[in-house]
Assembly symmetry: C2
Homo-oligomer: 250 residues x 2
Amino acid sequence: MKRELLHTLQGLEEEYASKYLPHISIDCVVLGYHDRNLKVLLLKMKDLDQWSLPGGFVEHDMEIQAAAEKTLLDRTGASNIFLRQFKTYGSPCRTSDIYADMPEELWFKQRFISIGYYALVDYEDVEPQLDDVSQYCEWKDIRKLPQLMMDHRSMVEDALILLRKDLNYRPIGLNLLPEKFTMPELQSLYEIILGKKLNRGNFYRKILNYNILVKLDETRKGGAHKSPDLYTFDEVNYKEALEEGFKASW
Amino acid sequence: MKRELLHTLQGLEEEYASKYLPHISIDCVVLGYHDRNLKVLLLKMKDLDQWSLPGGFVEHDMEIQAAAEKTLLDRTGASNIFLRQFKTYGSPCRTSDIYADMPEELWFKQRFISIGYYALVDYEDVEPQLDDVSQYCEWKDIRKLPQLMMDHRSMVEDALILLRKDLNYRPIGLNLLPEKFTMPELQSLYEIILGKKLNRGNFYRKILNYNILVKLDETRKGGAHKSPDLYTFDEVNYKEALEEGFKASW
Protein backbone atom coordinates (compact mmCIF):
# COMPACT_ATOMS: atom_id res chain seq x y z
CA MET A 1 0.00 0.00 0.00
CA LYS A 2 1.31 3.43 -0.96
CA ARG A 3 0.40 5.14 2.31
CA GLU A 4 1.67 8.64 1.69
CA LEU A 5 0.15 8.83 -1.79
CA LEU A 6 -3.19 7.46 -0.60
CA HIS A 7 -3.26 9.93 2.28
CA THR A 8 -2.59 12.81 -0.13
CA LEU A 9 -5.27 11.64 -2.57
CA GLN A 10 -7.84 11.25 0.18
CA GLY A 11 -7.09 14.76 1.37
CA LEU A 12 -7.80 16.17 -2.10
CA GLU A 13 -10.85 14.01 -2.73
CA GLU A 14 -13.59 16.37 -1.61
CA GLU A 15 -12.27 19.45 -3.38
CA TYR A 16 -11.58 17.61 -6.65
CA ALA A 17 -14.91 15.76 -6.72
CA SER A 18 -16.85 19.00 -6.46
CA LYS A 19 -14.64 21.15 -8.70
CA TYR A 20 -13.96 18.90 -11.68
CA LEU A 21 -15.91 16.85 -14.22
CA PRO A 22 -15.61 13.13 -13.53
CA HIS A 23 -13.99 10.75 -16.05
CA ILE A 24 -12.06 13.42 -17.96
CA SER A 25 -8.44 14.43 -17.54
CA ILE A 26 -5.80 16.41 -19.38
CA ASP A 27 -2.19 15.36 -19.99
CA CYS A 28 0.50 17.61 -21.45
CA VAL A 29 3.69 16.62 -23.22
CA VAL A 30 5.75 19.75 -22.45
CA LEU A 31 8.86 19.99 -24.61
CA GLY A 32 11.86 22.27 -24.20
CA TYR A 33 15.25 22.39 -25.91
CA HIS A 34 18.43 22.64 -23.86
CA ASP A 35 22.07 21.76 -24.33
CA ARG A 36 21.35 20.16 -27.71
CA ASN A 37 18.74 17.86 -26.18
CA LEU A 38 14.97 17.79 -26.44
CA LYS A 39 13.59 17.66 -22.90
CA VAL A 40 10.21 16.52 -21.54
CA LEU A 41 8.85 17.92 -18.28
CA LEU A 42 7.99 15.06 -15.91
CA LEU A 43 6.73 14.62 -12.35
CA LYS A 44 7.37 11.80 -9.92
CA MET A 45 4.37 10.94 -7.76
CA LYS A 46 4.96 10.31 -4.08
CA ASP A 47 5.53 6.62 -3.23
CA LEU A 48 5.88 5.59 -6.87
CA ASP A 49 9.01 4.75 -8.84
CA GLN A 50 7.35 6.00 -12.01
CA TRP A 51 7.16 9.39 -13.60
CA SER A 52 4.17 11.07 -15.18
CA LEU A 53 3.32 13.89 -17.56
CA PRO A 54 1.92 17.12 -16.08
CA GLY A 55 -1.82 16.61 -15.91
CA GLY A 56 -5.03 18.16 -14.70
CA PHE A 57 -8.78 18.03 -14.76
CA VAL A 58 -11.56 20.09 -16.32
CA GLU A 59 -13.64 22.45 -14.18
CA HIS A 60 -17.39 22.25 -14.73
CA ASP A 61 -17.60 25.47 -16.76
CA MET A 62 -14.17 25.46 -18.36
CA GLU A 63 -13.14 24.98 -22.00
CA ILE A 64 -10.85 21.96 -22.36
CA GLN A 65 -8.18 24.14 -24.02
CA ALA A 66 -8.33 26.49 -21.02
CA ALA A 67 -7.90 23.51 -18.68
CA ALA A 68 -4.77 22.52 -20.62
CA GLU A 69 -3.45 26.10 -20.44
CA LYS A 70 -4.03 26.14 -16.71
CA THR A 71 -2.18 22.83 -16.25
CA LEU A 72 0.74 24.26 -18.17
CA LEU A 73 0.75 27.55 -16.29
CA ASP A 74 0.62 25.75 -12.93
CA ARG A 75 3.56 23.47 -13.78
CA THR A 76 5.78 25.88 -15.71
CA GLY A 77 4.73 29.46 -14.95
CA ALA A 78 4.52 29.95 -18.71
CA SER A 79 1.52 31.26 -20.61
CA ASN A 80 0.85 32.32 -24.19
CA ILE A 81 2.75 29.38 -25.50
CA PHE A 82 2.38 26.90 -28.36
CA LEU A 83 -0.14 24.34 -27.08
CA ARG A 84 -1.90 21.88 -29.32
CA GLN A 85 -4.37 19.07 -28.69
CA PHE A 86 -3.19 15.89 -30.41
CA LYS A 87 -5.07 12.79 -29.27
CA THR A 88 -7.55 11.51 -26.68
CA TYR A 89 -6.70 8.33 -24.79
CA GLY A 90 -9.56 6.15 -23.61
CA SER A 91 -8.57 2.64 -22.66
CA PRO A 92 -10.82 1.51 -19.78
CA CYS A 93 -7.86 0.12 -17.82
CA ARG A 94 -5.46 3.04 -18.26
CA THR A 95 -5.06 3.68 -14.54
CA SER A 96 -5.67 0.26 -13.01
CA ASP A 97 -2.03 -0.54 -12.08
CA ILE A 98 -1.40 2.56 -10.04
CA TYR A 99 -4.53 2.46 -7.92
CA ALA A 100 -4.86 -1.33 -7.77
CA ASP A 101 -4.51 -1.57 -3.99
CA MET A 102 -6.51 1.55 -3.17
CA PRO A 103 -10.19 1.76 -2.15
CA GLU A 104 -12.70 1.43 -5.00
CA GLU A 105 -14.53 4.62 -4.03
CA LEU A 106 -11.43 6.81 -4.37
CA TRP A 107 -12.24 9.70 -6.76
CA PHE A 108 -8.86 9.31 -8.49
CA LYS A 109 -9.49 5.63 -9.15
CA GLN A 110 -12.44 6.15 -11.50
CA ARG A 111 -11.93 5.66 -15.23
CA PHE A 112 -10.39 8.75 -16.84
CA ILE A 113 -10.42 9.48 -20.55
CA SER A 114 -7.48 11.80 -21.07
CA ILE A 115 -7.12 14.53 -23.67
CA GLY A 116 -3.48 14.82 -24.75
CA TYR A 117 -1.85 18.17 -25.58
CA TYR A 118 1.69 19.00 -26.54
CA ALA A 119 3.39 22.25 -25.67
CA LEU A 120 6.59 23.87 -26.91
CA VAL A 121 8.23 26.14 -24.35
CA ASP A 122 11.38 28.16 -24.08
CA TYR A 123 13.43 26.08 -21.63
CA GLU A 124 15.02 29.15 -20.05
CA ASP A 125 11.61 30.64 -19.20
CA VAL A 126 10.38 27.67 -17.23
CA GLU A 127 10.54 27.16 -13.49
CA PRO A 128 9.17 23.62 -12.91
CA GLN A 129 6.54 23.54 -10.15
CA LEU A 130 5.29 20.57 -8.13
CA ASP A 131 1.63 19.58 -8.18
CA ASP A 132 -0.45 18.29 -5.24
CA VAL A 133 0.61 14.66 -5.51
CA SER A 134 4.22 14.81 -6.64
CA GLN A 135 7.64 14.79 -5.07
CA TYR A 136 9.76 15.99 -8.01
CA CYS A 137 9.19 17.98 -11.19
CA GLU A 138 12.14 17.82 -13.60
CA TRP A 139 13.19 17.99 -17.23
CA LYS A 140 14.24 14.64 -18.70
CA ASP A 141 16.00 13.93 -21.99
CA ILE A 142 13.43 12.55 -24.48
CA ARG A 143 15.98 9.98 -25.59
CA LYS A 144 16.58 8.70 -22.03
CA LEU A 145 13.14 8.67 -20.43
CA PRO A 146 12.67 7.05 -17.01
CA GLN A 147 9.81 4.61 -16.51
CA LEU A 148 6.53 6.41 -17.18
CA MET A 149 3.19 5.52 -15.61
CA MET A 150 0.02 4.46 -17.44
CA ASP A 151 0.07 5.21 -21.18
CA HIS A 152 2.31 8.28 -20.78
CA ARG A 153 5.14 6.79 -22.82
CA SER A 154 2.74 6.33 -25.77
CA MET A 155 1.68 9.93 -25.33
CA VAL A 156 5.29 11.14 -25.63
CA GLU A 157 5.84 8.92 -28.68
CA ASP A 158 2.62 10.08 -30.34
CA ALA A 159 3.51 13.73 -29.67
CA LEU A 160 6.94 13.21 -31.23
CA ILE A 161 5.41 11.64 -34.36
CA LEU A 162 3.09 14.63 -34.68
CA LEU A 163 5.96 17.05 -34.07
CA ARG A 164 7.81 15.34 -36.94
CA LYS A 165 4.86 16.01 -39.27
CA ASP A 166 4.37 19.53 -37.92
CA LEU A 167 8.02 20.42 -38.52
CA ASN A 168 7.16 21.42 -42.09
CA TYR A 169 3.92 23.23 -41.21
CA ARG A 170 4.33 24.91 -37.84
CA PRO A 171 6.96 27.18 -36.26
CA ILE A 172 8.54 24.42 -34.18
CA GLY A 173 12.05 25.91 -34.20
CA LEU A 174 10.74 29.36 -33.32
CA ASN A 175 8.97 27.98 -30.25
CA LEU A 176 11.74 25.71 -29.00
CA LEU A 177 14.98 27.55 -29.66
CA PRO A 178 16.18 30.61 -27.76
CA GLU A 179 16.04 33.87 -29.69
CA LYS A 180 19.64 33.50 -30.85
CA PHE A 181 21.00 30.10 -31.82
CA THR A 182 23.76 28.51 -33.85
CA MET A 183 23.32 26.34 -36.94
CA PRO A 184 24.59 23.22 -35.12
CA GLU A 185 21.89 23.83 -32.47
CA LEU A 186 19.19 24.12 -35.12
CA GLN A 187 20.45 21.01 -36.89
CA SER A 188 20.52 18.97 -33.68
CA LEU A 189 16.91 19.97 -32.94
CA TYR A 190 15.88 18.68 -36.39
CA GLU A 191 17.91 15.50 -35.85
CA ILE A 192 16.21 14.70 -32.55
CA ILE A 193 12.71 15.35 -33.90
CA LEU A 194 13.35 13.39 -37.10
CA GLY A 195 15.16 10.64 -35.23
CA LYS A 196 18.12 10.55 -37.63
CA LYS A 197 21.48 12.15 -38.34
CA LEU A 198 21.46 14.77 -41.09
CA ASN A 199 24.27 15.68 -43.46
CA ARG A 200 25.56 19.08 -42.39
CA GLY A 201 26.03 20.55 -45.85
CA ASN A 202 22.63 19.42 -47.11
CA PHE A 203 20.86 20.68 -44.01
CA TYR A 204 22.50 24.12 -44.20
CA ARG A 205 21.71 24.44 -47.90
CA LYS A 206 18.06 23.43 -47.51
CA ILE A 207 17.31 25.55 -44.46
CA LEU A 208 19.05 28.62 -45.90
CA ASN A 209 17.04 28.21 -49.12
CA TYR A 210 13.82 28.91 -47.24
CA ASN A 211 15.11 32.36 -46.37
CA ILE A 212 13.81 32.14 -42.80
CA LEU A 213 17.10 32.76 -40.98
CA VAL A 214 18.85 36.03 -40.26
CA LYS A 215 22.58 35.83 -39.61
CA LEU A 216 23.53 38.14 -36.72
CA ASP A 217 26.72 40.14 -36.29
CA GLU A 218 27.55 38.05 -33.23
CA THR A 219 29.16 34.72 -32.47
CA ARG A 220 28.71 32.29 -29.59
CA LYS A 221 31.71 32.83 -27.32
CA GLY A 222 33.35 30.41 -24.95
CA GLY A 223 33.80 27.10 -26.81
CA ALA A 224 37.12 25.43 -27.50
CA HIS A 225 36.52 25.69 -31.24
CA LYS A 226 36.06 28.64 -33.55
CA SER A 227 33.07 30.67 -32.24
CA PRO A 228 30.02 29.72 -34.33
CA ASP A 229 27.81 32.40 -35.91
CA LEU A 230 24.51 33.21 -34.27
CA TYR A 231 21.21 33.27 -36.15
CA THR A 232 17.68 34.31 -35.39
CA PHE A 233 14.42 33.57 -37.22
CA ASP A 234 12.86 36.01 -39.65
CA GLU A 235 9.37 35.54 -38.25
CA VAL A 236 7.53 37.00 -41.22
CA ASN A 237 9.33 34.84 -43.77
CA TYR A 238 9.08 31.79 -41.48
CA LYS A 239 5.32 32.05 -41.20
CA GLU A 240 4.96 32.68 -44.93
CA ALA A 241 7.08 29.66 -45.78
CA LEU A 242 5.01 27.46 -43.44
CA GLU A 243 1.78 28.39 -45.18
CA GLU A 244 3.03 26.49 -48.21
CA GLY A 245 4.81 23.93 -46.02
CA PHE A 246 8.48 23.03 -46.36
CA LYS A 247 8.71 20.57 -49.23
CA ALA A 248 12.21 19.29 -48.52
CA SER A 249 12.88 15.73 -47.44
CA TRP A 250 15.26 16.38 -44.59
CA MET B 1 -41.07 22.91 -26.16
CA LYS B 2 -40.10 20.00 -28.40
CA ARG B 3 -42.61 17.53 -26.98
CA GLU B 4 -41.88 14.47 -29.10
CA LEU B 5 -38.12 14.79 -28.71
CA LEU B 6 -38.38 15.34 -24.94
CA HIS B 7 -40.67 12.33 -24.60
CA THR B 8 -38.18 10.18 -26.53
CA LEU B 9 -35.23 11.41 -24.47
CA GLN B 10 -37.04 10.80 -21.19
CA GLY B 11 -37.85 7.26 -22.32
CA LEU B 12 -34.16 6.54 -22.94
CA GLU B 13 -32.93 8.29 -19.80
CA GLU B 14 -32.74 5.35 -17.41
CA GLU B 15 -31.01 2.97 -19.83
CA TYR B 16 -28.47 5.55 -20.98
CA ALA B 17 -27.63 6.83 -17.50
CA SER B 18 -26.75 3.35 -16.30
CA LYS B 19 -25.04 2.08 -19.46
CA TYR B 20 -22.82 5.01 -20.46
CA LEU B 21 -20.14 7.23 -18.92
CA PRO B 22 -21.46 10.73 -18.19
CA HIS B 23 -19.99 13.81 -19.92
CA ILE B 24 -18.40 11.94 -22.84
CA SER B 25 -19.80 11.45 -26.30
CA ILE B 26 -18.60 10.34 -29.73
CA ASP B 27 -19.34 12.04 -33.05
CA CYS B 28 -18.48 10.61 -36.45
CA VAL B 29 -17.99 12.45 -39.73
CA VAL B 30 -18.86 9.59 -42.10
CA LEU B 31 -17.80 10.30 -45.68
CA GLY B 32 -18.78 8.48 -48.86
CA TYR B 33 -18.25 9.27 -52.55
CA HIS B 34 -21.12 9.10 -55.00
CA ASP B 35 -21.99 10.61 -58.33
CA ARG B 36 -18.86 12.77 -58.28
CA ASN B 37 -19.82 14.25 -54.92
CA LEU B 38 -18.38 13.78 -51.45
CA LYS B 39 -21.28 12.92 -49.11
CA VAL B 40 -21.65 13.20 -45.33
CA LEU B 41 -24.03 10.94 -43.44
CA LEU B 42 -26.44 13.04 -41.34
CA LEU B 43 -29.43 12.50 -39.09
CA LYS B 44 -32.35 14.80 -38.40
CA MET B 45 -33.54 14.68 -34.79
CA LYS B 46 -37.29 14.59 -34.16
CA ASP B 47 -38.84 18.04 -33.67
CA LEU B 48 -35.71 19.89 -34.82
CA ASP B 49 -35.00 21.60 -38.11
CA GLN B 50 -31.31 20.84 -37.72
CA TRP B 51 -29.22 17.88 -38.73
CA SER B 52 -26.54 16.13 -36.72
CA LEU B 53 -23.60 13.79 -37.18
CA PRO B 54 -24.03 10.15 -36.16
CA GLY B 55 -23.07 10.02 -32.50
CA GLY B 56 -22.95 7.78 -29.50
CA PHE B 57 -21.71 7.34 -25.98
CA VAL B 58 -19.05 5.24 -24.27
CA GLU B 59 -20.02 2.18 -22.22
CA HIS B 60 -18.35 1.91 -18.83
CA ASP B 61 -15.89 -0.80 -19.89
CA MET B 62 -15.48 0.08 -23.55
CA GLU B 63 -12.47 1.50 -25.42
CA ILE B 64 -13.34 4.84 -27.02
CA GLN B 65 -12.28 3.51 -30.47
CA ALA B 66 -14.68 0.58 -29.98
CA ALA B 67 -17.46 3.02 -29.09
CA ALA B 68 -16.81 4.88 -32.36
CA GLU B 69 -16.83 1.60 -34.30
CA LYS B 70 -20.14 0.67 -32.70
CA THR B 71 -21.67 4.05 -33.59
CA LEU B 72 -20.58 3.53 -37.17
CA LEU B 73 -21.82 -0.05 -37.36
CA ASP B 74 -25.20 0.94 -35.91
CA ARG B 75 -25.71 3.78 -38.40
CA THR B 76 -24.21 2.24 -41.55
CA GLY B 77 -24.05 -1.54 -41.12
CA ALA B 78 -20.38 -1.23 -42.08
CA SER B 79 -17.45 -2.57 -40.10
CA ASN B 80 -13.71 -2.92 -40.70
CA ILE B 81 -13.55 0.50 -42.22
CA PHE B 82 -11.17 3.43 -42.15
CA LEU B 83 -11.97 5.25 -38.90
CA ARG B 84 -9.68 7.81 -37.35
CA GLN B 85 -9.93 10.00 -34.26
CA PHE B 86 -9.19 13.61 -35.17
CA LYS B 87 -10.14 16.05 -32.43
CA THR B 88 -11.98 16.36 -29.11
CA TYR B 89 -14.52 19.15 -28.68
CA GLY B 90 -15.05 20.55 -25.21
CA SER B 91 -16.80 23.90 -25.13
CA PRO B 92 -18.96 24.01 -21.96
CA CYS B 93 -21.95 25.39 -23.88
CA ARG B 94 -21.86 23.03 -26.87
CA THR B 95 -25.37 21.71 -26.34
CA SER B 96 -27.13 24.58 -24.61
CA ASP B 97 -29.27 25.71 -27.58
CA ILE B 98 -30.90 22.39 -28.25
CA TYR B 99 -31.89 21.55 -24.71
CA ALA B 100 -32.52 25.12 -23.54
CA ASP B 101 -36.19 24.59 -22.76
CA MET B 102 -35.85 21.09 -21.33
CA PRO B 103 -35.60 20.11 -17.64
CA GLU B 104 -32.19 20.64 -16.02
CA GLU B 105 -32.03 17.07 -14.71
CA LEU B 106 -32.34 15.50 -18.18
CA TRP B 107 -29.38 13.11 -18.73
CA PHE B 108 -28.92 14.38 -22.28
CA LYS B 109 -28.69 17.97 -21.08
CA GLN B 110 -25.46 17.50 -19.09
CA ARG B 111 -22.23 18.87 -20.53
CA PHE B 112 -20.72 16.47 -23.07
CA ILE B 113 -17.12 16.55 -24.25
CA SER B 114 -17.20 14.90 -27.64
CA ILE B 115 -14.46 12.87 -29.29
CA GLY B 116 -14.57 13.39 -33.07
CA TYR B 117 -13.79 10.60 -35.55
CA TYR B 118 -13.87 10.56 -39.30
CA ALA B 119 -14.72 7.50 -41.34
CA LEU B 120 -14.32 6.72 -45.03
CA VAL B 121 -16.87 4.23 -46.32
CA ASP B 122 -17.80 2.70 -49.65
CA TYR B 123 -21.08 4.50 -50.42
CA GLU B 124 -22.58 1.45 -52.12
CA ASP B 125 -22.04 -0.69 -49.02
CA VAL B 126 -23.96 1.56 -46.66
CA GLU B 127 -27.60 1.26 -45.64
CA PRO B 128 -28.26 4.34 -43.45
CA GLN B 129 -30.02 3.41 -40.19
CA LEU B 130 -31.97 5.63 -37.82
CA ASP B 131 -30.93 6.01 -34.19
CA ASP B 132 -33.21 6.31 -31.16
CA VAL B 133 -33.87 10.03 -31.43
CA SER B 134 -33.95 10.68 -35.17
CA GLN B 135 -36.49 10.89 -37.92
CA TYR B 136 -34.24 10.72 -41.00
CA CYS B 137 -30.76 9.39 -41.77
CA GLU B 138 -29.47 10.52 -45.17
CA TRP B 139 -26.39 11.30 -47.23
CA LYS B 140 -25.89 15.02 -47.91
CA ASP B 141 -23.48 16.70 -50.33
CA ILE B 142 -20.56 18.16 -48.32
CA ARG B 143 -20.73 21.30 -50.49
CA LYS B 144 -24.45 21.82 -49.77
CA LEU B 145 -24.87 20.97 -46.10
CA PRO B 146 -28.17 21.71 -44.34
CA GLN B 147 -28.11 23.54 -41.00
CA LEU B 148 -26.16 21.43 -38.51
CA MET B 149 -26.70 21.43 -34.75
CA MET B 150 -24.16 22.35 -32.08
CA ASP B 151 -20.55 22.43 -33.33
CA HIS B 152 -21.15 19.76 -35.96
CA ARG B 153 -20.36 22.06 -38.87
CA SER B 154 -16.92 22.77 -37.35
CA MET B 155 -16.43 19.03 -37.02
CA VAL B 156 -17.11 18.50 -40.74
CA GLU B 157 -14.79 21.39 -41.63
CA ASP B 158 -12.02 20.12 -39.34
CA ALA B 159 -12.35 16.61 -40.76
CA LEU B 160 -12.08 17.97 -44.30
CA ILE B 161 -8.92 19.92 -43.42
CA LEU B 162 -7.41 16.76 -41.98
CA LEU B 163 -8.50 14.74 -45.01
CA ARG B 164 -6.68 17.29 -47.18
CA LYS B 165 -3.47 16.68 -45.22
CA ASP B 166 -4.01 12.93 -45.15
CA LEU B 167 -4.47 12.77 -48.91
CA ASN B 168 -0.70 12.46 -49.32
CA TYR B 169 -0.20 10.03 -46.44
CA ARG B 170 -3.22 7.72 -46.23
CA PRO B 171 -5.17 5.61 -48.73
CA ILE B 172 -8.06 8.06 -49.03
CA GLY B 173 -8.92 7.17 -52.63
CA LEU B 174 -8.78 3.47 -51.93
CA ASN B 175 -11.30 3.84 -49.11
CA LEU B 176 -13.71 6.20 -50.84
CA LEU B 177 -13.83 5.08 -54.47
CA PRO B 178 -15.51 1.91 -55.71
CA GLU B 179 -13.14 -0.85 -56.81
CA LYS B 180 -13.27 0.34 -60.45
CA PHE B 181 -13.31 4.02 -61.27
CA THR B 182 -12.54 6.45 -64.08
CA MET B 183 -9.87 9.14 -64.09
CA PRO B 184 -12.47 11.95 -64.06
CA GLU B 185 -13.99 10.37 -60.93
CA LEU B 186 -10.61 10.23 -59.20
CA GLN B 187 -9.85 13.81 -60.22
CA SER B 188 -13.18 15.10 -58.93
CA LEU B 189 -12.59 13.40 -55.57
CA TYR B 190 -9.24 15.22 -55.29
CA GLU B 191 -10.89 18.48 -56.35
CA ILE B 192 -13.56 18.27 -53.65
CA ILE B 193 -11.08 17.40 -50.90
CA LEU B 194 -8.60 20.06 -51.98
CA GLY B 195 -11.36 22.60 -52.56
CA LYS B 196 -10.08 23.68 -55.97
CA LYS B 197 -10.23 22.83 -59.67
CA LEU B 198 -7.25 20.89 -60.99
CA ASN B 199 -5.77 20.98 -64.46
CA ARG B 200 -6.65 17.65 -66.12
CA GLY B 201 -3.31 17.11 -67.85
CA ASN B 202 -1.24 17.92 -64.77
CA PHE B 203 -3.38 15.75 -62.52
CA TYR B 204 -3.17 12.74 -64.85
CA ARG B 205 0.59 13.11 -65.22
CA LYS B 206 1.22 13.44 -61.48
CA ILE B 207 -1.05 10.62 -60.36
CA LEU B 208 0.23 8.23 -63.07
CA ASN B 209 3.81 9.00 -62.02
CA TYR B 210 3.19 7.41 -58.61
CA ASN B 211 2.52 4.10 -60.34
CA ILE B 212 -0.43 3.35 -58.06
CA LEU B 213 -3.09 2.87 -60.76
CA VAL B 214 -3.79 -0.18 -62.90
CA LYS B 215 -5.64 0.46 -66.17
CA LEU B 216 -8.26 -2.24 -66.73
CA ASP B 217 -9.37 -3.77 -70.03
CA GLU B 218 -12.82 -2.27 -69.49
CA THR B 219 -14.56 1.03 -70.07
CA ARG B 220 -17.50 2.69 -68.30
CA LYS B 221 -20.50 2.13 -70.61
CA GLY B 222 -23.60 4.24 -70.94
CA GLY B 223 -22.52 7.89 -71.19
CA ALA B 224 -23.19 10.16 -74.16
CA HIS B 225 -19.46 10.62 -74.70
CA LYS B 226 -16.66 8.23 -75.53
CA SER B 227 -16.65 5.52 -72.82
CA PRO B 228 -13.88 6.38 -70.33
CA ASP B 229 -11.29 3.81 -69.28
CA LEU B 230 -11.65 2.13 -65.90
CA TYR B 231 -8.84 1.97 -63.37
CA THR B 232 -8.24 0.24 -60.07
CA PHE B 233 -5.62 0.84 -57.36
CA ASP B 234 -2.47 -1.23 -57.12
CA GLU B 235 -2.75 -1.61 -53.35
CA VAL B 236 0.86 -2.66 -52.78
CA ASN B 237 2.32 0.26 -54.72
CA TYR B 238 -0.23 2.64 -53.19
CA LYS B 239 0.75 1.74 -49.65
CA GLU B 240 4.44 1.88 -50.49
CA ALA B 241 4.09 5.32 -52.06
CA LEU B 242 2.21 6.61 -49.00
CA GLU B 243 5.02 5.59 -46.65
CA GLU B 244 7.15 8.25 -48.29
CA GLY B 245 4.14 10.54 -48.76
CA PHE B 246 3.14 12.06 -52.09
CA LYS B 247 5.33 15.07 -52.58
CA ALA B 248 3.37 16.70 -55.38
CA SER B 249 1.58 20.01 -54.92
CA TRP B 250 -1.74 19.13 -56.50
